[in-house]
């Protein structure tokens, strides 16, 4: 059994953890057409964002240790309920699907607002959960903005790129190991707090057959814009300051020059130096 990173002297009761997850296309099952070098559309399935699974795993570790209550929330189309059910199968206690046409086209700001409102409604404005966990980024959008956006909307502290999470012995706060460009930092603070969890934080546990069967029949409430008391102007496309103007495929690689080796390294060296020295566009 791998070592779990926490030390608890006193029992902490009633700790509440919210985990926000997103259903994304499985980028590992995306294949390239060997002939055209472009994306093949077949067989791409939807999975829970891998970073979100890391966040869920952190929550479940704490649930195992402290009997914390873990709630999973997802904003998405009705199909996202599958990801929520999968989280329940892995051990989460309850789940909410936030879904409505009004949320369609939301960018990270509108999404952050919607999730923040949901957290307020699910827990009560003055009773935000101790921990609100997000995956560091979604593998389709790759922005890493929603977690920080929610922390701003709720006006709650933020810790990003968490690799390990401990609860302080007296239960008053946390100690988190976070990852930065130049190394890692141990950060301490109090609750409530929003955290974004990075990859390699932990091996996400599997859903057992028993867990999957139990989760199958759980009723997952669906919350729409009225249920979360959201202002229409801040939702969906209307509430999204960024607009996607165009989507293109990256340039496809094609065959370049192929030369036989004749003992003369100059052309090769020139090309190498040119490629290394080039610093992109200006």
């Amino acid at each position: 059994m791998a070592k779990r990173d926490f030390t608890i002297n006193d029992i902490i009761c009633g700790m509440r953890i919210a985990v926000c997850i997103k259903q994304v296309p499985d980028t590992t099952s995306v294949r390239i057409d060997p002939v055209t070098n472009t994306l093949m559309r077949e067989g791409v399935v939807s999975v829970t964002n891998p970073f979100d699974l890391q966040a869920l795993e952190q929550a479940l570790v704490l649930k195992d240790a402290l009997a914390a209550e873990v709630t999973v929330i997802s904003m998405g189309p009705p199909q996202a309920a599958e990801a929520l059910r999968d989280s329940l199968a892995r051990g989460a206690d309850r789940a909410f699907l936030v879904s409505s046409r009004a949320f369609g086209g939301a960018d990270t700001l509108a999404t952050a607002y919607t999730l923040a409102q949901t957290l307020r409604i699910v827990y009560g404005n003055d009773a935000l959960p101790e921990l609100m966990l997000f995956g560091q980024q979604a593998v389709d959008g790759d922005t890493a903005q929603v977690g920080p956006g929610v922390s701003a909307c709720l006006d709650v502290p933020l810790v990003t790129y968490v690799r390990r999470l401990e609860i302080l012995p007296d239960g008053s706060g946390f100690r988190a190991r976070t990852s930065f460009d130049d190394g890692e930092r141990m950060v301490e603070g109090r609750f409530p707090v929003v955290m974004t969890v990075g990859k390699d934080a932990a091996q996400a546990r599997f859903a057992s057959l028993f867990g999957t069967m139990s989760a199958r029949t759980v009723e997952i409430p669906v919350l729409d814009e009225t249920a979360i008391h959201a202002e229409a102007a801040r939702l969906g496309l209307n509430g999204s300051p960024t607009k996607v103007m165009a989507i293109a495929s990256p340039p496809v690689k094609t065959r370049g020059k192929v030369l036989p080796w004749d003992g003369d390294a100059r052309e090769l060296v020139c090309s190498i130096r040119a490629a290394v020295a080039r610093k992109g566009q200006s």
Binding site: R31, P34, G43, V45, Q203, F206, S208, M213
Partner: protein, 524 residues
């Protein structure tokens, strides 16, 4: 404690047909289907042209109308290939081979459709769970166990180790497909084997996308025999236009072949390069690839399809029309029969299942062509003639050709000439090399897990290299086995779960076991 009334192992056509029938006809108990692939249909592969009689008594008219197939057979032809460029069209399609009006499409899609119906009717289907063991008590199958997850390559528990789970079932239906591990073990342990050991053909299939849609081509099908196999090897191919733009091309080769240097994938590539096939696919490129075993020992190789507490349906029961090489409709009918037997209830569910199975129209066909394969073991022409004779006489002739009793693994002859470096065809968009084909199968495995292919005694591999030139490096359609400077190395993550290696290794030295649930090909 997980308990169910009926446990169905395998969510293929046979298993789902049983689930649908049980629920539709008012079965009051719990029906659980466990499937090892990540998603329904991922491990389902066929051409396919489906004999629609399989849906009789299974689907409603409305459900039939919604079947996700691209076309119905509109034009069919038979060709005998004499060589790469020359082929002869058989002017008359034998009546039993005619498929006009049959649905043509992806069996994986049809399976997903069946799964939706089963779930709607209340069956519980769980994917990503490999059932690795049957639980027996006093000679009765009382349930099964799922495989573990989260074991690293050294066999140690990872932090997310998931233990095997037991599920108790009053009746278990094995719907594992051809060469199923549990089925083979059960048949061996309880002596359920047929008159002769099961024999298999390796079916290789690609989906080819044409540069532009060819209007009206959907529904055109062609079956061929002859080149590229020699007269002593059982093989035949097909070309099915599943839509105006996509063509399924496949080749099946009997694994009772003798030539140790034979490379089925290479044969398949040569097949595609023939003028007869090229006419259908020129300019196209391959978008999907897969390989599977087809049980073709025929009637006499069928095991007794039941034991106390367990029923065997589909390919696992050896149900294949050996003349038409069609098994989907038989799988569906067997699933329905199994469900019917359970619905009647009582103590002798197994025997009742066998009775009901024998009454299905499909079964009589299998019986009718029971001596077909035997003819082919001698010579292709003899095989063709005998097939016709067998069919015409309702199987009474040729009674002397029951077929040899040898296993596929025993038929290889030692290599006389070491021509294994015979030039492979150059790779191209229409003819990818094996590794690219593996990529197009979508197969993925958890990298950090023990190798699921067990080489029982590696000291035998050196002798095999001498005698047979390591045929596993050729007969595996997924390039799992490679010989590097004398030693055999395995790339298990390429595996397509076809189990050709288990079947054909001349030393019986390879045992296929279950990798982590959810792993394997992702067929479309």
């Amino acid at each position: 404690m997980i308990e169910t009334d009926v446990l169905i192992v395998g969510a293929g056509p046979a298993g789902l047909a049983a689930a649908i029938t049980l629920r539709r006809r008012g079965f009051a108990g719990r029906v659980v289907v466990l499937e090892k692939s990540r998603r329904i249909g991922d491990h389902v592969l066929s051409g396919a042209v489906i004999d629609p009689s399989g849906f009789n008594g299974l689907l409603t008219d409305e459900e039939l109308r919604g079947l996700p197939v691209g076309a119905r057979v509109s034009r069919e032809s038979f060709r005998f290939l004499l060589g790469r460029r020359i082929s002869v069209r058989i002017p008359w399609v034998p009546p039993m081979m005619r498929a006009k009006g049959f649905p043509v499409g992806s069996l994986a899609d049809v399976t997903r459709y069946l799964a939706k119906i089963a779930e709607r009717l209340g069956a519980e289907i769980y994917t990503g769970f490999a059932v690795t063991e049957l639980v027996m008590h006093d000679g009765v199958v009382v349930g099964a166990r799922t495989g573990t997850k989260g074991i690293d390559a050294q066999g140690r528990h990872k932090s997310n180790y998931l233990a095997s789970e037991e599920i108790k079932a009053k009746t278990t239906i094995l719907a594992e497909g051809g060469a199923g591990i549990l089925t083979d073990r059960l048949v061996a342990d309880l002596g359920l084997c047929g008159h002769r050991p099961q024999a298999y053909a390796l079916g290789i299939r690609e989906l080819i996308e044409l540069p532009h849609p060819v209007e009206g081509s959907a529904g055109t099908i062609m079956h061929t025999f002859g080149y590229p196999v020699d007269a002593r090897t059982y093989g035949g191919g097909f070309v099915y236009h599943v839509s105006d733009r996509r063509v399924a091309v496949g080749y099946a080769i009997g694994l009772d072949y003798h030539d140790a240097t034979l490379d089925p994938h290479e044969l398949f590539r040569r097949y595609k390069a023939t003028s007869a096939v090229a006419a259908h696919v020129s300019g196209g490129r391959v978008v999907a690839y897969g390989a599977k075993l087809i049980p073709e020992g025929g009637f006499y190789a069928m095991p007794r399809p039941y034991a106390p507490g367990v029923l065997i349906v589909g390919d696992g029961a050896g149900l294949l029309d050996g003349l038409r090489i069609k098994g989907v409709h038989l799988a569906l009918q067997s699933g329905v029969a199994a469900a019917q037997a359970i619905l009647v209830g009582g103590a002798d569910v197994g025997a009742r299942y066998q009775e009901l199975l024998q009454q299905t129209p499909g079964y009589s066909e299998v019986r009718r062509v029971r001596n077909v394969h035997g003819g082919f073991t001698y010579h292709a022409i003899a095989g063709v003639l005998m097939s016709g004779l067998a069919w015409a006489t309702f199987g009474r002739l040729p009674w002397w050709m029951v077929g040899k009793n040898r296993r596929d693994a025993e038929t290889l002859r030692p290599c006389r000439c070491r021509d294994s470096s015979a030039s492979a065809l150059p790779a191209s968009a229409l003819s990818p090399d094996r590794l690219t084909d593996v990529y197009l199968s979508g197969t993925r495995h958890e990298e950090n897990q023990p190798c699921h292919l067990h080489v029982l005694d590696s000291s035998l591999c050196a002798a095999c290299a001498e005698k047979y030139d390591s045929p596993c490096t050729r007969f595996c359609p997924a390039e799992v086995y490679r010989r590097e400077s004398g030693a055999l190395s395995l790339d298990f993550s390429n595996c397509l779960h076809c189990k050709t290696c288990s079947d054909k290794c001349p030393c019986g030295n390879i045992r296929w076991t279950f990798p982590e649930g959810g792993d394997g090909p992702r067929y479309t």
